[in-house]
């Protein structure tokens, strides 16, 4: 792939900026980068799910045009997407053959041949799977294998796997990697999208690193090491600077105490004894790679998911497992990561979205007071410079303006604690800056802020205290000090270090020196 550029007009994100990728025949190539680095976009372009704005694709020396997965399949390119596309009620065989079913007498399904062909694939690649079992009865690891069998059945020789291990257990990962190695022996080429560095060294021969939509490095796996890759992935420089006035933090306003969250059927807890405390005038930034507990933390803190163990306090009052309405009444505000579905009602107007949580202020004798509402909305629209008429559905606004409406709503009532989850995800630069200014302003006014973000630059630029989560645990908890470099935090985020105590002592010794 040469000089691929992809710009998402709707969100204003430059996902791929002249990215080139060379994959050699019969190699296992790892494509790594942080969330939003553009890995998946690049591979979706190769698989025909997205179209590049510019650049070209060469396959086996020839320039090709891939506009749909069918084109990709015809070239022998197959991709397993992050979210499975399977029919749970169908058997493994039916799932594999769907779309290119073998027939007899031209019109009838040849079930016998289908069964034989699919089991032959399972046998050839020693995939341990019951081809007549409904897919819904299988484990996640086996579903992954079914997805791969779909590609093999379509005679794919070039396989793209998008973060295949994110939902697998260790044994399933070992099994998958064994399978991938056997594919290589059979002459297949594999691209593995991942952000797990141990997997890169375990399985790949070469690795391409993307950062912020650009290719930053290509290495032979044998010539590199996890800490170099981590540096390449995350970068040395903090790309973002936000003016943050010096402020002494006040009394604690919010505390998560040893929070554990378990899910039925999963042995590993999603959150494991997480303790976080937020004070007045303090921004606590929680960083982590997605899939390590950030979104679960968001759900628990916002009251949308009940904790299994542990306690939550707000101004020393226990608020564990209260509903989100009760939390709102206590003065907690929440700006969710999923602003389109959780944060707003897309078909409702801007006005309706703004008053949805506090409409009881506007009720007079059981009827909403239109005058008061429009005045309220006009004030907020001006204050937050929202581009959009109050009466249009919020879904017609740009991402930045939707986020501003949500901010306006959440911050319009008196609040001393606000949860921000991925507050600038997908926003353009000016909207992001607006959000940052707002967060800093709230901090100056005395609120405590819990910032949950997979954007490390953002966490480092805004936070007074930085928390890093890995596999549902807090692996680092430290004041934001110059000694806390991006490289170091990156190593914690990627699970390369798990020595929190040492960092604290580093911090303490520096603290004594200064």
């Amino acid at each position: 792939m040469r000089e691929i550029t992809k710009y998402y007009v709707e969100s204003g994100v430059l996902a791929n900026d002249r990215v080139s990728l060379e994959v050699k025949d019969n190699e296992i190539h790892a494509l790594i980068g942080e969330n939003g680095a553009g890995k998946s976009t690049l591979m979706k372009i190769l698989y025909g799910l997205e179209r590049a704005d510019s650049g070209k694709i060469l396959f086996r020396g020839k320039q090709v045009s891939i506009t749909s997965p069918r084109d990709a399949n015809a070239l022998g390119i197959g991709m397993v997407q992050q979210h499975f596309r399977l029919i749970p009620q169908y058997t493994v065989t039916e799932n594999v053959i769907l779309g290119i079913e073998p027939t007899k007498r031209r019109i009838l399904l040849d079930k016998g041949r289908a069964r034989r062909e699919v089991s032959a694939i399972a046998k050839k690649f020693s995939l341990n799977i019951d081809c007549s079992a409904p897919v819904g009865d299988l484990s996640v690891g086996q579903m992954q294998i079914v997805e791969i069998m779909k590609l093999l059945y379509r005679k794919a020789s070039f396989l793209i796997l998008d973060e295949p291990t994110s939902v697998l257990t260790r044994q399933e990962i070992d099994n998958l990697f064994g399978i991938l190695k056997s594919f290589k022996k059979q002459g297949k080429t594999i691209v593995l999208i991942t952000h797990k560095l141990d997997e890169v060294s375990e399985i790949s021969e070469r690795v391409t690193v993307l950062r912020h939509g650009k290719r930053v490095a290509v290495r032979d796996t044998s010539d590199t090491n996890p800490s170099e890759l981590s540096r390449l992935m995350i970068g040395r420089e903090v790309a973002l600077h936000v003016e943050r006035p010096e402020l002494a933090r006040g009394k604690p306003v919010y505390r998560l105490e040893s929070i554990t969250l378990r899910e039925k059927g999963r042995n590993v807890p999603l959150l494991d004894r997480v303790t976080i405390e937020v004070h007045q005038h303090e921004i606590v930034g929680v960083a982590g790679v997605s899939g390590n507990g950030l979104s679960e933390l968001e759900d628990v803190a916002s009251g949308l998911r009940k904790v299994t163990e542990g306690h939550i306090f707000h101004n020393e009052e226990e608020i564990t497992n209260l509903t989100s309405i009760e939390l709102r009444e206590m003065g907690l505000a929440y700006v969710p990561a999923d602003r389109l579905f959780r944060g707003s009602s897309l078909q409702s107007s801007v006005t309706e979205n703004m008053i949805i949580c506090n409409h009881h202020y506007f009720i007079k004798r059981g009827i909403l007071n239109g005058k008061k509402i429009s005045q309220f909305v006009r004030e907020l629209t001006e204050k937050y410079s929202i581009m959009g008429e109050p009466d249009v559905p919020i879904g017609t606004l740009s991402g930045g303006n939707i986020q501003k409406v949500i901010l306006a709503r959440e911050l319009s009532s008196d609040t001393d604690f606000i949860i921000f989850a991925e507050p600038t995800w997908g926003l353009d630069v000016s909207s992001s800056e607006f959000v940052y200014r707002k967060i800093i302003e709230l901090r100056s006014e005395g609120a405590g802020i819990l910032l949950i973000s997979s954007n490390l630059d953002e966490v480092m630029a805004l936070s007074d205290t930085i928390v890093v989560m890995y596999k549902g645990r807090v692996v680092m908890y430290s004041e934001n000090k110059p000694s806390l470099t991006k490289e170091l935090i990156g190593e914690y985020m990627l699970g390369l270090r798990d020595d929190f105590r040492e960092v604290q002592s580093v911090k303490d010794s520096r603290g004594v020196q200064s």
């Binding site: 997965p69 009620q89 169908y90």
Partner: protein, 300 residues
């Protein structure tokens, strides 16, 4: 089986069952493709009207039937196109079809015949009645199953073909997959809307057949001839657990109640309106019973 009525009642049940069966089998296709197709009723009425009109005009039963079916397929095409490609809510478009059909047929009838009521045709050929040779010597079965018109047997054939298409062909596999997970279907490079449109056209075809049976059998068109049979067919799909055999059984039960009520009318003093309402009440009760059963099954 000792009552003198039982054999004619059962014989009639087989006949009455046919329109239900046609509509329900077509509706099964749309149901499996993930659409609630309430337009069965309207499509049947269109088929009933046009097949009898065209038969009367051409004097040819086969030609009239074909054109009648084509009419309901055409309406199904418009209904499907608006629902799937113009993305209108299928419930609303289905409702529109059901409102359009009686209006359209009445207006056309008035324009052509100057009559908004029952239109009788003298020149409609009788539907060919068929005796099944194999069971001719088996007294009971012969009396019940044999001697119906060819549409009755065509409906049985349709059930068998439908079962084969649904369970034994690539189209059937894709059809059911569309209903289960349309997004997955897209990732396979298939077009879910095209499959859904095909299902709607099939329902138009079978509803056309079912409607035709009603009008051609009488050689007349009566306003609101279908009288809710399309709705009962929809219920039969659910009661039959969305399987061809289940639908046959459910249709049989509905037809049986209708057949019985037809006979009971003549021999009791219970008001006729009440008796004629029994098939609908049975439908209602069956639907409630089915929901309760589903609820408890889901609980376990």
């Amino acid at each position: 089986m000792h009552s003198p009525y039982s054999i004619p009642v059962l014989h009639n049940t087989i006949r009455i069952m046919t329109p239900f069966l046609f509509a329900a089998i077509g509706g099964l296709f749309t149901e499996l493709a993930g659409m609630l197709n309430i337009a069965l009723e309207g499509l049947m009425l269109i088929g009933a009207f046009f097949s009898v009109i065209f038969t009367a005009f051409t004097g040819n039963l086969f030609l009239g039937l074909t054109l009648g079916i084509l009419s309901s397929v055409l309406v199904a095409l418009i209904f499907g196109w608006i629902s799937l490609y113009l993305k209108a809510n299928i419930f609303i478009t289905g409702l529109a079809t059901n409102l359009l059909a009686p209006g359209l047929t009445t207006v056309l009838a008035f324009q052509i015949f100057g009559n908004k009521g029952v239109i009788r045709f003298e020149n409609i050929p009788n539907l060919t009645h068929i005796t099944i040779p194999i069971i001719r010597r088996i007294p009971l079965l012969n009396d019940i199953l044999s001697g119906h018109n060819f549409l009755v047997y065509l409906s049985w054939l349709t059930v068998i073909i439908a079962a084969i298409v649904i369970y034994e062909t690539p189209f059937g596999l894709r059809l059911r997959a569309t209903g289960l997970n349309p997004r997955a279907i897209e990732s396979y490079g298939l077009k879910p809307r095209r499959i859904q449109l095909a299902a709607i056209l099939i329902s138009g075809f079978t509803c056309g057949l079912g409607g035709s049976m009603l009008s051609l059998e009488m050689g007349a068109f009566v306003p609101n001839l279908t009288a809710g049979r399309g709705w009962i067919a929809l219920v039969a799909i659910y009661l039959g657990s969305k399987r061809p055999l289940g639908i046959v059984i459910a249709s049989f039960v509905f037809a049986l109640t209708e057949s019985i009520s037809n006979y009971v009318q003549g021999i009791t003093s219970v008001p006729a309106d009440f008796i004629l309402a029994t098939p609908y009440m049975v439908t209602l009760l069956a639907m409630i019973g089915w929901s309760v059963w589903q609820y408890y099954r889901a609980k376990e």
